[in-house]
């Protein structure tokens, strides 16, 4: 199926095609409208578009004074903060390339990126990041300047490499006085096909790769979506995910500059839910784990509510599950049900949306990984227009998006305008799009492997186009394997099924080339902890709770349900999970077990916990293991435990297994 459309229509040819061009246009057209808000000391502070443009001009001059020239890279490390956004815009105005880094990465993880991108200037948020830069400076000889936003705790730092953001602005002012024409000339020199940003992919295997995206690629994709969803400059967005992740960067930075709406920065990572209620975003984006966290929270609170409220909640949710989604999709629903839904809206759905901070949400997306059908339907049934999309860093996010009225829980939508999709013979999804990346930075070999001579990008995902033109993703192509008897084994599919239970936070399935399937699970401390308290089950922490027989029984029942489910599917009946264990520690990106976007690194885990995998397949009841863990401050320690292994009931396949 091909969805090629002319990339340039009448409107886009007039609109600027570079980020600095867009910024200046907004400052001109809507100078007094809010661009970036940040909550500081409990009050939302607003930067208008003309404020932002002024700050960018100053910062750009400052960066130029520090020796930043077109084509150089500038590291940006921190949470979503107005000044870090300004720094990215300033770098782009100079024709330099901002490289956002994950703010929770430990110093040694940053070394590779700082070296690979030859970073000379890093703009960082606070003392935590400054400390990391000082730690790695000897390994990164190019690093000459570190500019910090928040001076707290830095009073006694005298290193000449450091300077405050104010000092940078001051330098910028002096530089501007000496070079009056500099900024305009720099902005005019930036071309749409120049690199606009570089994102290092987390990569579930191997070294990270720098994905170079051009101004044209990013802006084109953002425009396609703005048109599809009719985004205006009145939208409010809350930026609360790491800016180093392309998803957040697209939603709160690229789309901010393309659509000219308002982005809001929370006070601190802990206050996101409060800030969300303050702002009431109209355009919202959340990976499934965030939506899951919110739902778990709601359910726990409901369990604590009185009996009448609980009854009312469950009655209303039952109705919502039946008719809510159909009403949202504009399908025909009987007037009586419509009336009852309206009553439920007044009593439960409306207040619930309000409590979630989603009262004003017009368009909400989820992406990053598969979302559980129950979870997806929950949000849609209470009237939140949650939709799925598909994309990656290399494609400037938007490959497929579900348009209103064509939303399903098991697909990710048809291709967005401009995108062509083809499924290769081995089931891999290939993409051609104006949003494709320019290259992997200094890695021509990897670029060639990922994008063939005809310009098709190999996504590495296995899937197919459904009869109605919507794309369906099965798994990572390289993860799909076979059991010893030759039947299909899709670990991620199983793991997602496991994670759809609120009690399970992470799961890792093993089974390639084995007789049967076994799994590791991580319990969700909040959900299982609450469950335990309700039963008067005392526990001292994660490791203790994870080793309780009662918890094993609880999870055993969950997995049994999955097995019963799988037995119905002739292709996957052999993948029933026969034995499982609850890991004695939570999988953590700091220990390299998860990527920074929280995807499991299956191969690494299989190797690290080799003894446990062997014990699972050998049929042992317990296994002793010692594991090294890294703490947030970089120190390391050891956790030892006797991990129990439990069998689960499996079911005979309902249909005869295909030979």
């Amino acid at each position: 199926m091909v969805h090629a459309q002319p990339a340039v229509d009448g409107k886009t040819s007039v609109a600027p095609s570079t980020f600095p061009g867009l910024l200046l246009q907004h400052a001109d057209a809507r100078g007094s409208r809010p661009a970036i808000r940040e909550k500081d000391l409990g009050i939302w502070q607003t930067l208008t578009w003309s404020d932002v443009a002024r700050e960018v001009r100053l910062t750009a001059h400052g960066l130029a004074a520090l020796g930043i020239k077109p084509g150089m890279h500038v590291a940006v490390i921190g949470e979503n903060r107005p000044r870090l956004y300004v720094a990215m815009m300033a770098a782009q105005a100079l024709g330099a390339i901002p490289v956002p880094l994950y703010q929770d990465a430990v110093a040694q993880e940053m070394v590779y990126v700082l070296q690979d991108a030859s970073i000379t200037v890093a703009i960082v948020e606070d003392q935590e990041q400054v400390d990391k830069m000082l730690e790695v400076r000897d390994q990164c000889p190019d690093l000459a300047h570190v500019v910090y936003d928040d001076p707290r705790g830095l009073r006694h730092y005298t290193d000449p490499m450091l300077r405050s953001y104010e000092a940078l602005a001051e330098t910028g002012r002096e530089y501007a006085a000496q070079h009056p024409e500099f900024f305009e000339a720099s902005v005019a020199a930036v071309q749409p096909d120049d690199a606009a940003a570089m994102f290092y992919t987390s990569g579930t295997t191997g070294k990270p790769k720098g994905v170079v995206l051009t101004h044209h690629a990013l802006i084109d994709r953002a425009r396609a979506i703005a048109e599809l969803e009719k985004l205006t400059d009145k939208e409010d967005v809350l930026a609360y995910l790491p800016p180093a992740w392309i998803g957040q960067n697209m939603f709160s930075y690229t789309q901010l500059l393309v659509s000219g709406f308002t982005v809001n920065h929370p006070e601190s990572p802990e206050t996101v839910s409060i800030d969300m209620r303050d702002i009431g975003p109209t355009y919202y984006f959340a990976p499934p784990r965030v939506l899951e966290g919110l739902l778990t929270h709601v359910m726990i609170r409901m369990e604590d509510a009185g009996r009448i409220k609980r009854w009312l909640f469950h009655a209303c949710m039952k109705l919502a599950r039946r008719v809510g989604v159909r009403i949202l999709d504009g399908e025909s629903v009987s007037p009586w049900d419509r009336l009852r839904y309206a009553a439920g809206n007044v009593l439960i759905y409306g207040p619930l949306r309000n409590a979630l901070g989603m009262s004003r949400v017009r368009v909400a997306y989820t992406a990053g990984e598969a979302i559980g059908p129950d979870l997806f339907v929950f949000y849609r049934s209470i009237g939140i227009n949650l939709k799925q999309l598909y994309g990656s860093t290399e494609t400037s996010v938007f490959v497929c998006v579900q348009p209103d009225g064509q939303v399903r829980d098991d697909t990710v939508g048809p291709p967005v305008s401009g995108v062509e999709i083809r499924v290769a013979d081995n089931g891999e999804i290939l993409v051609k799009s104006p949003g494709l990346f320019k290259e992997y930075y200094r890695n021509a070999k990897a670029t060639e492997e990922a994008r063939d001579a005809e310009g098709w990008f190999h996504t590495g995902d296995a899937g197919y186009l459904d009869t109605d033109g919507q794309l369906k993703i099965i798994d990572r192509a390289k993860d799909v394997g076979k059991l010893a008897d030759g039947s299909l084994f899709a670990p991620k599919y199983l793991e997602n099924k496991l994670k759809f239970f609120p009690h399970i936070k992470e799961a890792v399935a093993f089974g390639a080339d084995r007789d049967h399937v076994c799994a590791f699970v991580n319990i969700d401390l909040e959900a299982v902890g609450n469950w335990a308290e309700r039963r008067g089950l005392p526990y001292a922490g994660y490791t203790d709770l994870a080793s309780k027989d009662e918890v094993y029984q609880l999870l055993g029942e969950c997995i049994e349900q999955i097995n019963a489910d799988l037995a119905n599917d002739p292709k996957l009946a052999a993948s029933q999970i026969s034995r499982f264990l609850i890991l004695h520690k939570e999988l953590d990106p700091d220990d390299d077990e998860l990527t920074r976007t929280r995807k499991v690194r299956r191969a690494f885990i299989a190797q690290k916990y080799g003894v446990l995998v062997d014990a699972l397949f050998a049929g042992r009841d317990t296994q002793y293991i010692e594991t090294e863990v890294k703490f947030e401050d970089g120190r390391s320690g050891k956790i030892a435990a006797n991990v129990k292994i439990h069998p689960v009931k499996t079911f005979p396949a309902i249909t005869a297994r295909a030979a």
Binding site: D40, L41, G42, R152, G153, R155, H156, E267, S268, E270, T271, I274
Partner: protein, 265 residues
């Protein structure tokens, strides 16, 4: 921050306790104790349970009046101190067993720390008349800075009683800071905390000392934490002073080791 850097910041003697003795009836709580506190330093009082640490703190802020001895604060000698006068002179404290208003929000609890500095009358405050409103806004800004400093923004409007213990301790510290104290007395700030909470609290204590230049006297019976963050340590045992000096000196002191290891007296 290097040690020489710290030593330079520590100034002249701010509080001098001279030969303090305190008894309740026949029980001698403190016997002839003298030590001083210098400006900008973190001074710890340690000792086993019942050594007289809390009594010492109560003498400093005027809750108890010693039978003998005197207190010299900023060069003026007082035979007795009252809690009110102590507060007015810039002495604030936190409590071992927390004395927060459980039903009030974090914000309101910390606002009570500004009480002494509010100049408008009750009626004016109740109706938020012009000057009262301006005053409240000013104080609120100060309190918001403390909330930001202690990283408790997410709990601003939460009733204190609903917070975990470690956070309540932080709110207690916040309220004491709201008084803009020159001398801050902390009564077992880390009692009952887990390791992570202790580390957080240690960092906040160091930050308070560093950012605001506040002089801090703290009581603790966990030796480890105290040795890491204090400049000088006084050791009490059975109401007597048995050691005084830099953490390393105190750690090596024979009498202190005996008291802590429980060798027979």
């Amino acid at each position: 921050m290097s040690h020489t850097d710290r030593d330079q910041r520590i100034g002249k003697v701010m509080l001098d306790l001279q030969n303090i003795s305190l008894s309740f009836g026949g029980v001698k709580a403190l016997t002839d104790i003298s030590f001083n506190v210098r400006e900008h330093e973190i001074r710890a009082i340690i000792g086993p349970n019942g050594a007289g640490k809390s009594s010492m703190l109560n003498v400093i802020n005027g809750v108890y009046t010693p039978q003998q001895g005197g207190i010299e604060f900023e060069g003026t000698r007082y035979a007795r101190m009252s809690p009110r006068r102590a507060a007015e002179m810039g002495v604030a404290r936190t409590f071992q067993n927390l004395a927060l208003f459980k039903g009030m929000s974090v914000l309101d609890n910390i606002m009570t720390g500004r009480n002494l500095r509010m100049k408008c009358g009750l009626l004016a405050q109740a109706f938020r008349w012009g000057p009262a409103e301006r005053e409240e806004i000013r104080h609120r800004e100060f309190v918001e800075n403390i909330i930001d400093f202690l990283e408790i923004q997410a709990y601003r409007k939460t009733p204190v009683g609903r917070l975990p213990y470690g956070l309540q301790k932080r709110v207690d510290l916040g309220r004491a800071l709201a008084m803009e104290p020159r001398l801050l007395l902390l009564d077992e700030p880390m009692a009952g905390m887990n390791i992570e909470e202790k580390q957080d609290m240690s960092r906040f204590i160091l930050d308070v000392n560093d950012e605001f230049g506040t002089t801090i006297v703290l009581i603790e019976h966990d030796m480890g934490v105290v040795m890491d963050i204090s400049d000088r340590v006084v050791v009490l045992d059975y109401g007597k002073k048995i050691g005084d000096g830099k953490p390393d000196e105190v750690r090596a002191d024979e009498a202190v080791i005996q008291a802590y290891l429980g060798v027979s007296h």
